[in-house]
């Protein structure tokens, strides 16, 4: 995913060129520094999944599927259902992706997206209990990256959120003998919040949103912030071996807060379309 090995000279030239361009507030694809690429969210694309969403952010393409199973709670949270988010950058997504178990980049990706969902309390996990301490609903979200063109964090987050928000499952109940039975009723997950992720890159002295692969190849640092509907920040992560100064951190948080409101409408649009369809 990041194993691109380029000639150092070329690398430096590309970066110089990009910094020069950015200093004029221009980007290779003609966007402004704080302009997002086009975001397309389609839900309900995989009938066999409980919930699913295909998301395009520019040429970045991901698909998420939710499976809801029953399982045992973790010993230290006997009163909560389970949420597991996995992400794989499929080998078909880029010339640099390799088959095999998720590498540290894919693990970080899944864990940051998971934190946004978990810490925003998107799913009320306390409502996913079947038999307290023994049987709970387990929500598995698997996200497959199909085409890489930068900003996997946001694309993966949007697909995860949209697939969870539109997931449906048969209502279960526990009979007198302690057996779990399913009813005919189909219900959604208990959704309390919709978290929205916004990622910025620092290249030289410039902060920009929604970086492409070409921008990520020369960026110094990446910062992702996730917000709920009340502008609370609920997850964050800096990435890459570059730094941000104190003002840049605060500026990034402010920019992300504003852009999150913009993306929120698009996500809600994608979710609602499904509810109607």
């Amino acid at each position: 995913m990041s194993a691109v090995k380029r000639s150092m000279v070329v690398e430096r030239l590309r970066k110089d060129q990009m910094v020069e361009l950015l200093s004029k507030e221009k980007r290779l694809d003609n966007r402004g520094l704080l302009d997002l690429r086009n975001i397309v969210i389609e839900t309900g694309v995989i009938e066999r999944a409980s919930g699913s969403a295909k998301v395009q952010v520019g040429n970045t393409q991901v698909i998420a599927g939710v499976k809801i199973e029953t399982g045992e709670p973790f010993p230290d949270t006997p009163d909560k259902g389970l949420l597991v988010v996995n992400a794989e950058v499929l080998p078909l997504a880029s010339a640099y992706a390799e088959p095999g178990p998720p590498d540290e980049d894919a693990i970080e990706l899944a864990r940051v997206v998971d934190r946004g969902v978990r810490e925003s309390k998107m799913i009320d996990l306390s409502k996913l209990i079947l038999i307290p301490g023994r049987k709970v609903h387990a929500v598995f979200v698997d996200v497959n990256v199909l085409n890489v063109d930068g900003n996997l964090f946001d694309a993966t987050s949007y697909a995860t959120v949209a697939s969870i928000a539109t997931a449906k499952m048969p209502k279960l109940f526990v009979d007198q003998n302690g057996q779990i039975k399913r009813t005919e009723e189909i219900i959604p997950l208990p959704i309390k919040s919709i978290p929205v992720s916004v990622t910025l890159a620092r290249i030289g002295d410039v902060l920009l949103v929604d970086p492409t692969s070409e921008e990520e190849a020369v960026m110094d640092a990446r910062i992702t912030l996730v917000f709920d509907e009340e502008d609370n920040v609920c997850a964050g992560q800096k990435g890459q071996p570059g730094t941000l100064n104190f003002d840049q951190v605060k500026l990034a948080a402010n920019i992300a807060k504003v852009k999150a409101r913009e993306v929120r409408k698009i996500i809600l649009g994608g979710i609602t379309k499904d509810a109607k369809g």
């Binding site: 694309v45 999944a49 698909i63 599927g65 080998p91």
Partner: protein
């Protein structure tokens, strides 16, 4: 035992015994891949991508006189009713092998010595016959990548359900039926490149099923051609979907 063919001779989804499921092939769906395609065949939804010819890593695996062909057939965890763990199962490893062997005869690998050509299949949703749909999609993606080919490759299963020979089994027919016979052919060279059989058939049923599967392959081949023509010579006025 489920009744798979009704008194009118129709199957659960209303098809006749020699009728294909709805089939749709799209070419060039992924920006990064050298070639790609998307297939829907019944409820199968599969993306195929080709990367290559490119350098081989590690180098000692390169062949001096031809390209090394690799294939990975993989199912998304959400593609089946019960979540499938992401690591490759024994089934996926076997299918990856037979798909690679089904495609290799059609490729002129000698044109690309010391390189590798990688085919990646991701099954986003699985129905009966996903290996056949995967082969059909892979061949299109290989053509999209501009790899030299002797012929197309196209695949379809025949089988036996409720005592009758039918083509293109879906998931229920595959599980509840008597036999499944997936084959792949090179449609112009009249050669079989994949042949598997699962389940009981009398010798005469086997021969009938084999012949029906060959015919079905020829029908699917037309859809492959149209998809490639659409991509490379345009659809005229029609939109993309």
């Amino acid at each position: 035992m489920v009744e798979l063919i009704n008194e009118k001779g129709l199957r659960i989804d209303g098809r006749g015994v020699d009728e294909l499921r709805p089939l749709r092939i799209e070419v060039g769906v992924l920006k990064n891949a050298d070639g790609s395609s998307y297939i829907e065949m019944g409820k199968n939804k599969i993306v195929a991508a080709v990367y290559g010819p490119k350098e081989v890593h590690p180098k000692h695996l390169a062949l001096p006189d031809r390209s090394v062909l690799r294939c990975r057939y993989h199912m998304a965890p959400f593609s089946v009713d019960v979540r499938k763990p992401p690591q490759p199962s024994r089934r996926e490893i076997e299918i990856s092998k037979v798909i690679r062997e089904a495609l290799e005869p059609a490729l002129i690998l000698e044109e690309y010595p010391r390189t590798a050509i990688n085919i990646y299949l991701e099954v986003l949703q699985a129905d009966g016959g996903s290996r056949c749909a995967g082969i059909t999609a892979s061949a299109v993606a290989l053509a999209d990548a501009g790899i030299s080919m002797r012929d197309m490759v196209v695949a379809c299963a025949a089988g036996k359900i409720s005592g009758q020979v039918v083509i293109d089994l879906d998931d229920t027919e595959d599980k509840e039926g008597d036999a499944d016979l997936p084959i792949a052919i090179m449609p112009n060279l009249n050669q079989v490149t994949l042949f598997q059989l699962d389940g009981i058939m009398a010798p005469e049923e086997f021969e009938k099923a084999f012949n029906m599967a060959v015919s079905a392959c020829h029908q699917i081949y037309e859809v492959q051609r149209e998809a490639l023509i659409d991509k490379y010579f345009g659809k005229g006025e029609a939109g993309e979907e």
